[in-house]
């Protein structure tokens, strides 16, 4: 900064503005530091480390280094060299004795389903065959293992298990993303669409998208009049009504969701009532829970406040005089609503819908509890892969695709409507 100082000035120079502001600024930054640290440690760090798992998967490569080296020169046709057989045998037998082979087999099985039983089944016999050959003083070289392995399981005589091993040994890989988009390894090693029975993720993404859209629209249809009523009530009544909207908000999500089970189940209150008034027969009770209907109803209920609150705060700021003016100038009430009131509430509609939609697309507990099998969403699949199958690479890929999708929607919304048009009042 010295070059900027004027040589003509003789009296003490006031410290430059940026310097005077530095102290308070640093202090302000210092105040935000705990938050920054908290967010990086508890959110950004874990998220990045999980996302890394979606394309970086070194486990098989680390577990079977010799096999991977021997497979490097293989052209993917027929069977690999005798060295590959020897390396696989050496590493399988060693891993089997150290009790680590099961984990490796699980990882290979994710590339080609069926590989776990091939590896675990043949390795059990390979340990015995190797010990027997050594006891008899016979050579346990590549040719020996080729013959032994193919006689234990004829599949080792074809290229498939070798291709699976090779693919699972790639450290940097797109296989989790391809699987998340319902592709699988084809017979020639390239990726093709998975057969019908294995295609689950793309349909689930679609289902999640459509359910979220449906729930958002349902929330809007139900929430708009409610918000309008609250915004135009006298303060005392508005407070009571607002409390009613917020009350479920303060109740545990689990309690809210399980209450729906009590209401909607086969022998539940709603069905009992419908039977009692004779609308349906006792054997014609409607299945309203453990299916898509249950997911829809419970999610709409849980997410409704997120639409009502932004709408309410925007509507409260609209002077009633506008509507009165429109009507007194000859508009019908509907025209006044459509052309005067509705456009002014658009920022609230945008904010509420975007918030509801983004929350809905990641919903997980509610569908798990009331969705049955047909009401499960993509987040339930992510949870399944995190908690049960422990296939974190695939879970990370699914999560990354979901995150990418939401970001894309946000960008599209920004382009079409403009993000600064969002308002919470």
């Amino acid at each position: 900064m010295t070059s900027r100082e004027s040589p003509r000035v003789s009296q003490p120079v006031p410290r430059p503005l940026w310097r005077r502001a530095l102290g308070p600024r640093l202090r302000a930054a210092g105040l935000a530091l705990p938050l920054v640290a908290f967010v990086s440690v508890t959110f950004l760090g874990p998220m990045l480390s999980l996302l890394t798992k979606s394309f970086y998967d070194p486990e098989v490569a680390d577990a079977l280094p010799g096999t991977m080296a021997a497979l490097r020169d293989w052209d993917g046709q027929g069977t690999p060299s005798d060295e590959a057989f020897a390396a696989v045998a050496r590493e399988f037998v060693a891993a089997r004795t150290e009790r680590t082979l099961g984990r490796t087999a699980n990882r290979v099985n994710r590339v080609a389903s069926g590989m776990r039983s091939v590896i675990m089944g043949s390795s059990r016999e390979m340990v015995e065959a190797g010990a027997a050959a050594e006891a008899a003083g016979a050579a346990t070289d590549g040719a020996f293992w080729r013959e032994t392995m193919i006689s234990i399981d004829s599949r080792w005589g074809g290229p498939e298990p070798w291709r699976a091993l090779e693919a699972a040994g790639q450290r940097l890989t797109a296989r989790h993303y391809l699987k998340a988009l319902d592709f699988e390894r084809g017979p020639d090693g390239g990726y093709v669409r998975a057969p019908e029975v294995w295609r689950i993720y793309v349909p689930l993404f679609w289902r999640t998208f459509l359910v979220s859209l449906g729930v958002t629209l349902l929330c809007l249809v139900i929430g708009y009049p409610v918000a309008h009523m609250i915004a135009n009530s006298p303060p005392k009544r508005a407070n009571v009504l607002l409390l009613l909207v917020l009350l479920p908000f303060w109740t545990s999500l689990l309690v809210r969701t399980t209450s729906w089970i009590v209401l909607l189940q086969n022998q539940g209150i709603v069905n009992d009532f419908l039977v009692a008034i004779g609308l349906i027969g006792d054997d014609g009770r409607i299945a309203m829970i453990y299916n898509m209907t249950g997911t829809f109803i419970a999610m709409t209920h849980v997410l409704l406040p997120f639409l009502v609150l932004p709408l309410y705060s925007v509507m409260r700021a609209i002077p009633p005089a506008y509507m009165n003016a429109a009507v007194s100038l000859g508009a019908t009430p509907f025209q006044a609503l459509r052309r005067v009131y509705w456009p002014q509430t658009l920022p609230g509609v945008g904010a509420g819908c975007l918030l509801t939609f983004i929350l809905a697309i990641g919903y997980y507990i509610t569908p798990a509890l009331v969705g049955g099998q047909s009401g499960q969403l993509i987040s339930n699949m992510i949870a399944y892969h995190v908690q049960t199958s422990l296939n974190w690479g695939l879970a990370a890929a699914l999560a990354a695709l979901l995150l990418g999708g939401v970001t894309l929607l946000y960008v599209v919304y920004d382009r079409l409507v403009g993000i600064d048009r969002i308002g919470l009042g």
Binding site: R96, E98, R99, T100, L101, G102, R103, A105, N106, N109, S113, G114, R116, S117, M120, G121, V197, W198, R199, I200, P203, L204, S252, L253, L254, Q265, N266, Q267, Y290, F306, L309, P310, P347, A351, L354, L355, L359, I365, G372, Q373, Q376, M381, Y384, Q387, T388, S389, L390, I419, D420, I422, G423, L424
Partner: protein, 372 residues
């Protein structure tokens, strides 16, 4: 930017609410200050009560080591997760033989020295006293349980189902079916009901055509199935009339019959027997106490203790002789046991070798089938 700030605030609020409603798993465990303790994990509900009375209490009495009980729904997922994360807070888990063998192959369960197995009450040697194939490298047998199907006599008032095939017969028995959300036992049941002979069942299941056949059979009841996750849900679904019949663990139905007086009936035809074991999670810091616990549970008296609370057959011949009547109600236990010859006219013994090698693949395929 005020608005986006508000959105962030809302999202943070919601995330906070969810976290508050969902305490992290495994927060309660470990050893306490004034005495040693171990955590034993089991299937909850009436079975958990039986093991507490059967051998948890007597173990604490004998050793002074407290036993904390945790519930799970079976499977190795959490054990794998704990071992991989290096945060082992479970010590002893209830597993099927197939799970014990898979877990052993993966190194997530400890090897158990067979010499720790105690002799029977009359000095019977463990190697003669345990039923065949009850013990493996990482698991000590404790009981035999059975997957059966059952119905509620008050709900199903017409002619009763008597054969396994009736469970899959929606024409003669229209109504919803309860099935555990797991491929175990239901795959075998579907194939048996489809007419595959028992001795060829696992060979058929190993072929792609066999798998197609199983899921085609399951497709016929899929839209009538209510899937349950915890064993205690099965009797609940029956009692509520949510399902006409349900697959269940036989002991849970027994418990509802005897303790709650529910009018449930078990159909033993085509029952799928399985062996249950105790296993020790690899790398537990409480290894010595965990092994002593497994040793204690392997006594015939411990097994008989469980068998007097819930209708699961003990893993030792000497324990069979110690079981007579239910501890609280005085009900004769043997008519309800899965290994009673009267209940074994048509049964299948689960092939644990097959499941140890194919279990994960079946779960994957089953999950894909369910999601469609």
């Amino acid at each position: 930017m005020r608005s986006s700030g508000a959105i962030v605030l809302c999202v943070v609020l919601v995330a906070g609410c969810r976290l508050a409603a969902d305490p992290p798993p495994g927060s309660a465990s470990g050893s306490d200050a004034d005495g040693r303790s171990i955590t034993a994990v089991s299937y909850g509900g009436s079975y958990a009560r039986a093991v507490v009375r059967g051998y948890h209490e007597s173990f604490t009495e004998a050793t002074g080591v407290r036993v904390d009980l945790a519930d799970f729904q079976g499977g190795l997922a959490q054990v794998r997760a704990q071992v991989e994360a290096g945060a082992v807070h479970w010590d002893v888990v209830d597993v099927s033989v197939a799970e014990a063998v898979s877990g052993c192959d993966e190194g997530v369960l400890e090897l158990i020295d067979p010499s720790i197995l105690p002799a029977g009450p009359g000095g019977e040697l463990p190697e003669d006293d345990f039923l065949p194939e009850m013990n493996t490298e990482c698991g000590v047998g404790n009981l035999l349980f059975s997957s059966i199907f059952a119905y509620n006599r008050e709900v199903l008032t017409g002619p009763p189902p008597t054969r396994l095939a009736d469970f899959f017969d929606l024409e003669r028995f229209p109504g919803r079916r309860g099935v555990r959300r797991s491929p175990e036992a239901i795959l075998e049941m579907a194939l048996m009901a489809d007419g595959v002979p028992k001795d060829r069942l696992y060979d058929v299941l190993s072929t792609p055509e066999g798998l197609e056949r199983v899921f085609r059979k399951l497709d016929t009841i899929k839209d009538q199935v209510v899937w349950w996750d915890t064993s205690a849900q099965a009797p609940q679904l029956l009692a509520d009339g949510e399902v006409l019949m349900t697959m269940a663990a036989n002991g849970r139905i027994f418990n509802a019959q005897v303790l709650e007086g529910q009018p449930f009936v078990i159909v033993w035809d085509g029952q799928v027997l399985n062996r249950g074991q105790l296993a020790v999670v690899a790398g537990t810091p409480r290894l010595e106490d965990a092994m002593r616990f497994v040793q204690h549970a392997a006594r015939a008296e411990s097994m008989a203790g469980v068998g007097r609370y819930i209708a699961y057959s003990p893993a030792r011949y000497s324990a069979e002789r110690l079981i007579d009547r239910h501890f609280e109600t005085g009900t004769e236990m043997w008519p309800h046991m899965p290994t009673n010859p009267a209940n074994m006219k048509n049964y299948l013994m689960t092939d644990w070798r097959w499941w140890a090698d194919h279990g994960d693949e079946m779960l994957e395929r089953f999950t894909a089938w369910l999601a469609r």
